[in-house]
């Protein structure tokens, strides 16, 4: 079965031990996710990633700036198997790999959480209609 899932990725961005500016945090998160989205799909699940939205928002702590990234993944899997786990684990692995090396910007980026965004299609449609 061809499957899809919306995921909320909460990124934590610091600059020299302080919260990064909203613009810098958003731009760095976007750069990282866009790079991951360009990676080719690999068998057997052929997972692909696209990014739908970036939003700076209050987070669970004050040490960093938090960027909520709404990501969408597609791939192939037997119907009854757990696609949320497959997609979440894959995205976390990709992010861990990308964040292993310090970026040229000097920003320190970490992943706070990745969760399924069950209301995302409605949110996106409502935002689109309001725009």
């Amino acid at each position: 079965m061809h499957k899809g899932i919306y995921l909320n990725v909460l990124m934590h961005v610091e600059q020299q031990g302080k919260p990064a500016s909203a613009d810098a945090a958003s731009a760095e998160s976007q750069r990282i996710l866009d790079e991951l989205a360009r990676q080719p799909a690999t068998p057997p699940n052929n997972l692909t990633l696209s990014v739908k939205r970036f939003k700076v928002q209050p987070g669970p702590d004050t040490t960093g700036t938090h960027v909520a990234v709404l990501a969408y993944m597609e791939g192939d899997q037997d119907a009854p198997q757990d696609f949320q786990k497959l997609a979440t684990d894959d995205l976390r692995k990709r992010l861990d790999s990308a964040l292993r090396h310090a970026s040229a910007s000097g920003l320190k980026v970490a992943v706070h959480s990745i969760e399924e965004a069950t209301g995302a299609p409605d949110e996106l449609a409502d935002e689109s209609e309001k725009a």
């Binding site: 499957k3 919306y6 009854p80 696609f83 299609p121 409605d122 409502d126």
Partner: protein, 257 residues
Amino acid sequence: MRKSINMNLTLIAVLFGASLLLAGCGDLNSPDTGGSSSGGSSIGGSGGGNSPAGLPGASYRQTPQEITFDGCPPEGDGGDPILNQNKNRVDEGNYQPTSFSAIAQLTWPSETEKTSRDNWSSSAQAAIAQAEGLPVAVEGYLALARKEGPESTNCHSTTDEDFHIWLIDHPGGSADRNGSIVVEATPRVRANHPGWTVSRLLGLAQNGTKVRISGWLMFDQDHPEQLNDTRGTLWEIHPIMRIDVQTGNGWTALDNY
């Protein structure tokens, strides 16, 4: 005389037991208060048994029947398997006329919100079970209809997706969804209703045509963030089993409209 005293003692015991039961339900949320209310649902119903006021009696409840659809089992591929099984039932019921307000005013324990059903307390499970699974038929108007995205209920399929439909109690549009009841047409049921299309549903919304939605009353604990914005309650009709359209001669099935 002794009989009268015994009856009074029995009445006191029953009232005491009922008060303990309500106290055990904890905070009850409603779309109006967004917080706690003291009483919760009252006991009653038209068909016997214990159901909240204005809803069909418990005797109309029946054992759900589910199917595997395009390889997807009733429990879906993750998420809350009990919730998914409820959403994926396909059996027809004896739908009872139910007012919009009877559903819109139903309460729920706040502890259920965003919490998997296997983590609910027994009192929360009992509170939801009073109304969930009842076959209802509700008249109203459509505010909006959309094809949804992938979700665990449908094994995250990119083709087998629910229709989200917003039912309101007066002719209106998308902006009126804050008081709506979300009613959902699942791919398992739609397989037998080729006339249920988003474009046809949107036409009914735009024309302000009265509809009658029949299906199973179900509680979806996953979307409290939408309350008073794009829905009025977490209670849904899900799945929808019949859609009828008001015509000059009464009601016509949407498939034949």
